[in-house]
């Protein structure tokens, strides 16, 4: 029997380490995630996000340490964990020669539903994911977004308490991405806990309550989005110019005032820099711009974006890849 109940943490990892031969994919992860939330695992390719998801899904066993999913140990009772979870991987794991409905019924049967209950579950999921029009067509005719949605649906027919989404929108066009996002939001609204991996910062921003930043198999930051943004402790001064020609000049002003390297975006005619002392430095910047007679479209102080937080975190951490999404290890 499963020891899980509503008060157990969604995830509880203690010194969780997973090695594949010489490669250490997870390196002593400690993490307690409360239930009732959407958690995003964020990190460059090869950071260990997928390995963590596969360990939660009992596809990979810990080399050392422990992992409990809703109170159940993944090694001691993998079957109980599998009953509780629904996994949608990086690839849409649907059978293309079967219709959407047939795929859903099949997966429902695998969860242990009777024939009638399986048909019922498929019908509900088809409605939930707005797949009515394509449900009785073979999946080989589906668009990428429809396939992913069906794959999501297949992970739902067993009424999972925890939904695991591994890069749910990788390879989708913007329309497909927003389809999947809407679906995830609907599911969250019905009370399903979600753990998703992504290397899109906007995806984490859109969907997640809490974010875990992983790199080189280690947790380098964990918290709510606003906690993470606040942890950087610095606001950003952002100047949008009327004429792009003066952008370099503005960059020099920002560097002078804030003592931080500015970021210049030529196409948006925008310059920005972190400001340790936001309001005072903002006033100083405005003064300098005024003296140099530079026409400003917009100027202001804002919280850092998740991307800026992410870059700051990965820069601050030793041995880290400098760019988001860089691939420096085969297995992710």
């Amino acid at each position: 029997m499963s020891a899980s109940d509503h008060s157990s943490p969604l995830l509880e990892a203690t010194d969780l380490t997973v090695r594949f031969g010489q490669v250490t994919a997870l390196d002593g992860v400690n993490l307690v995630v409360p239930p009732g939330e959407v958690l995003a695992l964020l990190g460059p390719n090869g950071a260990g996000k997928t390995t963590l998801v596969r360990t939660i899904a009992t596809l990979v066993g810990p080399t050392s340490g422990n992992l409990r999913v809703r109170g159940t140990d993944v090694v001691r009772d993998p079957l109980a964990v599998r009953r509780d979870i629904g996994l949608a991987g990086q690839y849409a794991a649907v059978e293309p020669t079967m219709t959407g409905r047939e795929n859903l019924v099949m997966t429902a049967r695998f969860f242990g539903h009777s024939k009638i209950a399986a048909n019922h579950a498929a019908e509900i999921v088809i409605g939930q994911l707005s797949l009515e029009e394509v449900a009785d067509r073979r999946c080989s005719t589906y668009s990428g977004g429809q396939r992913r949605r069906l794959d999501l649906g297949a992970s739902l027919v067993g009424a999972p308490r925890l939904l695991l989404l591994d890069e749910p929108t990788t390879g989708l066009d913007p329309a497909g991405r927003s389809e999947v996002w809407d679906t995830v939001r609907t599911l969250v609204a019905t009370g399903t806990d979600v753990v998703l991996t992504t290397h899109y910062l906007d995806e984490a921003n859109e969907l997640a309550d809490r974010v875990v930043v992983i790199d080189h198999g280690r947790v380098i930051a964990y918290g709510t989005l606003s906690e993470l943004k606040a942890s950087i402790g610095r606001d950003v001064i952002e100047v949008t110019l009327a004429h792009g020609a003066e952008l370099e000049h503005v960059g020099r002003i920002l560097r002078q005032v804030t003592a931080n390297p500015p970021t210049l975006d030529t196409s948006a005619r925008r310059a920005s820099a972190s400001a340790t002392d936001g309001t005072i430095q903002l006033a100083a910047t405005i003064e300098c711009l005024h003296q140099a007679s530079i026409a400003v479209d917009e100027i202001g102080l804002r919280r850092p974006t998740l991307e800026e937080v992410f870059l700051t975190l990965t820069f601050a951490h030793p041995n880290l890849a400098p760019t988001v999404g860089s691939s420096h290890r085969g297995r992710s």
């Binding site: 899904a57 009953r83 099949m106 009638i116 009424a159 695991l164």
Partner: protein, 259 residues
């Protein structure tokens, strides 16, 4: 049934139900993939035609005509030629995440192997029977009784199951589907360096020990024996089949954990 929520299932599925669902998916895939159904048959007919009419004239098999030598061996080992697709399909399921999905579901691991074995053995059984019919078309006739012929066919169908399991294991060890295709060529070597196409005695002496003692030769010779009412090599052939199944089924089941 008007509720809008899904009630979680009260129990996990048993091995039988899960196996049959795995089988059902694969049979649907087989019959719905255009060409798959016909391809095995065309391949089988083409090879048989070549061996019977192209190479056959150059092979000396004693008093009996080559067609009587060739057809039983060919029917018994046809799956070695057409079964590469099994290894490829297993490797593709792994690459495309389907295997991960199955492994994340609360079903017994052995159901995945069992379901696939049932499905692929069934389609192989069809190929074997059709190949036997082609055999008659190119001039093969039963020398013994119909019962003896059916016993021989039964043995061929058993081999179909054995070879299916071997190809599943190949697909599980192949790093990708292209390698799976390559690995399944190993089966060709076992088919050619055996008594299927030529008598072992016609091979160079250094090659004869391998040809004589590898499982395919006694398996094929047992089928030839049954056709003429003898039981020579039958026990050895059954023992090989049992051994291969008892080795490869657990390997497949264990390997699926790491797939």
């Amino acid at each position: 049934m008007t509720t809008k929520t899904i009630t979680p299932p009260s129990a996990v599925p048993g091995a039988t139900r899960a196996s049959l669902e795995v089988t059902r998916r694969l049979l649907r895939k087989y019959f719905r993939t255009r060409g798959l159904f016909a391809m095995g048959l065309i391949q089988s007919a083409m090879f048989l035609f070549s061996f019977r009419f192209v190479f056959g004239g150059a092979v000396h098999t004693g008093a009996s005509s080559y067609v009587y030598f060739l057809v039983p061996g060919y029917v018994a080992t046809i799956v070695l030629f057409t079964g590469g697709g099994i290894a490829v399909a297993v490797a593709e399921d792994r690459a495309q995440g389907f295997t991960d999905r199955l492994l994340s579901l609360p079903i017994p691991r052995r159901a995945i192997v069992l379901g696939r074995t049932i499905a692929d053995s069934s389609t192989n059984a069809w190929t074997i029977c059709a190949t036997a019919a082609f055999g008659f078309l190119v001039g093969f006739r039963l020398e013994g009784s119909v019962e003896q012929g059916l016993a021989a066919l039964g043995l061929c169908l058993l081999y179909g199951i054995v070879f299916t399991v071997v190809f599943i294991v190949m697909g599980l060890f192949a790093p990708n589907s292209q390698s799976a295709q390559g690995m399944s060529m190993i089966a060709f070597a076992f088919a050619f360096i055996s008594s299927v196409y030529v008598p072992v005695s016609s091979m160079p002496s250094w090659l004869q020990p391998f040809a004589k003692y590898q499982p395919i030769t006694p398996m094929v010779d047992a089928v030839r024996s049954l056709l003429v009412g003898s039981t020579s090599d039958v026990v050895l052939a059954l023992a090989w089949s049992a051994l291969l199944l008892t080795v490869f089924i657990p390997i497949a089941t264990l390997r699926y954990r790491h797939a």
